[in-house]
Symmetry: C2
Amino acid sequence: MDLGGTAVALDGFGVEAGFDVLAAGVRLAAADGIRLRVFGPSSEIDLDGVEGVELIDTTDQVSNEDDPVAAVRGRPESSIVRAVADVAAGNSEAVVSCGSTGATLAASLFGLKRSRGVKRPALAAQVPLPGRTVVFLDVGANVDVRAQHLIQFAWLGAAFSKSVLGVRRPEVGLLSVGEEAGKGRAEVVEAHEALTRAKEFDFIGNVEGRDVPAAVADVVVTDGFTGNVVLKAMEGTVKTVVGAISDAARRNPLSAAGGLMLKPALGGLKRELHPDTTGGAILLGLRKTAVVGHGSSGAEGVANAVRVAARSARVDVPGLTEELLHRVGANRGSIESGGDV
Amino acid sequence: MDLGGTAVALDGFGVEAGFDVLAAGVRLAAADGIRLRVFGPSSEIDLDGVEGVELIDTTDQVSNEDDPVAAVRGRPESSIVRAVADVAAGNSEAVVSCGSTGATLAASLFGLKRSRGVKRPALAAQVPLPGRTVVFLDVGANVDVRAQHLIQFAWLGAAFSKSVLGVRRPEVGLLSVGEEAGKGRAEVVEAHEALTRAKEFDFIGNVEGRDVPAAVADVVVTDGFTGNVVLKAMEGTVKTVVGAISDAARRNPLSAAGGLMLKPALGGLKRELHPDTTGGAILLGLRKTAVVGHGSSGAEGVANAVRVAARSARVDVPGLTEELLHRVGANRGSIESGGDV
């Protein structure tokens, strides 16, 4: 996809590896023709002469230690609030931050409007797995949910899978403790029942924890507490297994030789499974695109987060999501369980 | 530990690989001197002449398709109900089943008394990780919890870690979406606050999803929905990564040779991380021991589930748990949050 000319507002703080890594990521994304507006300290970030990149000097950073809501409300000059405001003002089409997830969520929820009909925007991760990329949501925006939120997450995820990943008819699974329709918490059971009537995607029913890494669905839906913990547990498990293999390989010379010969293949795998590859999580359900990159991103991770944001803006994920939700509005009564939100 | 003479009641149904694998597992456990009372079909299970093993002919099986509570209540002649009743009657000291988890939980909760002071028994998995075995609970007994349940799970897990795994002063973590005390659902925040006052173990605060496979704590506490999903997601991730490595190794001759040379080391790792190794999950908070083995267990998995049950009965985990809960009874007010259950 040609991303040329798409404008992305980038929070210049939050990349743990430092401003030089951030700048390297910006250069990579700019080389794709993406226009970037970077909100960070001009004394630290060297982007002189990079075509299509504008650095807007910003020195206030909302950190992980700050209370996100209070910080976002009280510090309009902070980099994340300014980057979001840049999108709201129409100067950029999407916002990206590798800083505090909470602050990015809060700033985006406050600063960018929700799509029509969306009750609760959700944070979606693209999990790169052998076979397909799984859209996994919510991974942290809503620690408590009701059935109608889970139901909407299914639509949000399906819309993303269709529009950005090009899956014609996404398979959608609902995460629970068993495959049977009656398994799990009350809100999961209720959501399951409603989702069986969905016509816009294939609802494959409940999926279990092991089904997420097995990539049995294009979209897996859960609440933001479970999703956050599961996503991080999977990332951590990859790290543990790869570490254990390295240790095992070091234990004796024959294994060590084997490990050496496997290295290129392992490198490819590590790249494939590395969070950098997908460029972070995307906040779905807003009228504009917001992407939460990893604080631990390398240059490639920063660039990929920007690319995801640009791609989402270019294919108009927010517009397509709204259209899909509008189309199902006819049978809204059937997809939303009773009760208010 | 000498397990000689400890009597374990074993559900003879539920091992997916069939009765011969079950019988092979029984022989392995019996070779350790454990006495077994097996409740299964005598026409299918061949245990003739195995010393210390009694086969009690039982033909009714509660399957995964049955509603656990209704089945357990209505079918006293089913293998799981008879095995539990055998423990309740004092013929055996612990019960093991590789069949329906729901049925084993229901039968045990109905048939074995809760330890004094325990509100909700929890299912604990021993997760074998490089460095240490992590006790992870609840992995499926309680999909909804309140703060006081999470608090008790910490005590149950710590008691198990001390008595069975020999950890003098267990480090206990509370699973949440961030390290800060205020992160997560209301019941998690409330439990965190109460646990900071625990004196019987080291409460290390909130841990995140990635900290579970990183083995940062001896005990990790969560609700039964999150725990079930996370445990299965980690198991699935190991499978995916090992599969991807095998694929990568097959891709070219040099890698293939490397893979071959790594095979013994990988085999060791797979054994280390395989669910069979720990023999399933244990139900904590009852006056007798109940162990839920994997339906996918091999003979070694069956034997290990029986060994865990025998060891737990031998060191009297239920008694030690009760003692620990009793000891903290003095400051009960401080460890239990207000409100009833």
